[in-house]
Point group: C2
Chain length 345, copies 2
């Protein structure tokens, strides 16, 4: 970012025109402010000859547009989030935008820190994809960012005053629980996610609702979890001790389901013969477990594309879209089957 890189002044001189003319043709504002074709050609030629590269920092300072968006995720190394980010990047790069990643580890402190830094870092938009908290931390930061003209869009339910791509967590979980019920299961445990997370709570609510509608109680069936693989493993002893024994386990996300699978195998329990296990999310590795995981599919990448498209539209001056949403679907693989001694009802 230093040396003798050519500026529009050099081009202006070389092409024998003014600074503004150069700026006009080079910044694409041509469409708005017509330029003589011959002038234009000269400018372009000089730019090419001098190997000109615009200085985005200068553009940003002058125009207020940075051509960059930041994405807050829980953890970029978590496939759930990296899929979303990939979707975002797809449409961002197609529109000459760069994407910054910010992993918050679901830590409200880190989340606020990043938000604070976004206060000085030049981005045109911020995508809150880390998942919402029931009690949001960065409210003030978000407000002041919005006030400054930054477009902010969220993914999943947030307690924040921003447009959001809704994921049908509750409906998806209900459907999955109904699927298990239909298979004949009556004792279905649920491994919950982190307490304050809206995503986790919505999935739990969907599970509860399905049970309630089937006239079943969830008492003693909801196990604490935190979305980690270890949590899925940890509950296994508890599962085995339950009486009457649980016949199916619904984990609030795939990672826990996969951990549970591992724990069950270690305990010598065979899935789905002795117990069914299902997850939520359908991360890529869910198809490579044994048995492959029955789960709720979220169109992660498409969500990323959708949220970035929304950011771009708002940046283009359009009002926030009213209803952004991503439908979940059941993906039946082989980790769930009817219970062995399936006495219905």
């Amino acid at each position: 970012m230093a040396k003798g890189r050519a500026t529009i002044a050099d081009i202006a001189r070389s092409a024998g025109v003014s600074l503004s003319t150069v700026s006009r043709v080079l910044s694409g504002r041509e469409s708005v402010i017509p330029i003589g074709p011959e002038t234009r050609a000269r400018v372009l030629a000089s730019a090419a000859a001098l190997n000109y590269r615009p200085n985005q920092a200068a553009r940003t300072l002058a125009s207020g547009r940075s051509q960059a968006v930041a994405v807050l995720v829980h953890d970029i190394s978590d496939p759930y989030f990296s899929e979303i980010v990939r979707g975002i990047e797809d449409v961002a790069s197609a529109n000459q935008y760069m994407v910054l990643v910010c992993s918050t580890d679901r830590d409200p402190v880190r989340e606020r820190e990043y938000l604070l830094r976004m206060g000085s870092f030049p981005t045109d938009g911020i995508i809150l994809a880390a998942g919402g908290f029931e009690e949001e931390a960065g409210l003030d930061e978000v407000r002041s960012l919005i006030e400054r003209g930054v477009v902010i869009v969220g993914v999943a339910r947030h307690g924040l005053p921003i447009p959001t791509v809704r994921i049908s967590n509750e409906e998806g979980a209900r459907e999955m629980a109904e699927h298990l019920l239909q298979l004949g299961h009556r004792r279905i445990a649920f491994i919950a996610g982190p307490p304050g997370l809206t995503t986790a709570n919505d999935r739990l609510a969907g599970y509860r609702q399905a049970l309630r509608e089937a006239g079943l109680s969830a008492d003693g069936l909801v196990l604490a979890g935190d979305f980690t693989r270890e949590a899925g493993q940890r509950v296994v002893p508890h599962l085995l001790r339950s009486t009457p024994r649980v016949t199916a386990v619904f984990a609030a996300n795939d990672k826990m389901a996969i951990g549970c699978l591992a724990g069950l195998r270690a305990a010598g329990i065979v899935v789905p013969d002795e117990v069914s296990v299902v997850g939520f999310g359908d991360v890529p590795s869910a198809q490579d477990t044994e048995p492959p995981l029955t789960t709720v599919t979220i169109p992660l990448r498409e969500i990323g594309r959708q949220v970035m498209r929304e950011v771009l539209q708002q940046l283009g001056g359009q009002p926030p879209s009213a209803a952004l949403s991503a439908p979940t679907t059941l993906t039946i693989r082989r980790s769930a089957a009817p219970p062995r001694s399936g006495k219905p009802g």
Copy 2:
């Protein structure tokens, strides 16, 4: 990025000092240029009162430093790369740096495009983590970026004039092949990676060397692949047709190994009883396949940290480190076992 955000001018006015004084205390150059403690306090107080946030775009323009690095990866949704990026982010964020992700899909065209865009986008450093090609495309772009003072560091072998964190792909592959040999295998197939990739070639070379040293020929044992899961599945019929039948398969990366596992299962072949399968990389999901994958572990996250530390050091004026490297280790799980009819030699 717009509205009425406070500037150092506002602070100067409010604190009754000059612009330069404000800049000095706010940009941390204090250590170099002493400031009166009382003046300093007044400035800080005003800054806080006005809820001041530095404008990084302006700083970048004036100082030439952007506090951002870009990372070129094959695909951010590939766990191999997202792990590396996470490592980079860990040390970046601890040092007030932001990280931009650029997925190139291993397409030289996209790679050059991104490099070209980096020519105008303000970043202090660029990390080439997408893997090297035997014939590099973006050489000119890299040169001109370096000339402009951007620090560029690579991961894995590159044909580019930049310091690089070496991954012991060849040694790791040799070790793994030796392990298979030691188990008693003599007919070991290798699923290769994309032809032009140094990473793929080095692993192949390691495999070849081990066979050669054992007095074995690799003729007809090297199968074409491209690092995708599908490639791993695709070779299965070929594997089964081989005579004498191959007893072990070494995939050049985990994804292909996992695909191979799936293909084998579909064909009713049991691993490792009938055939052993091993991979390279040790991505997180490698431990959740059935059987869990024996593979070569690369300290992905640590590599990310290391490469970002190197970038920071060079930005701090230190010369490139001579030997950056990441050792691979064998991780024995359960997908490889002695061949069934293991007649040694």
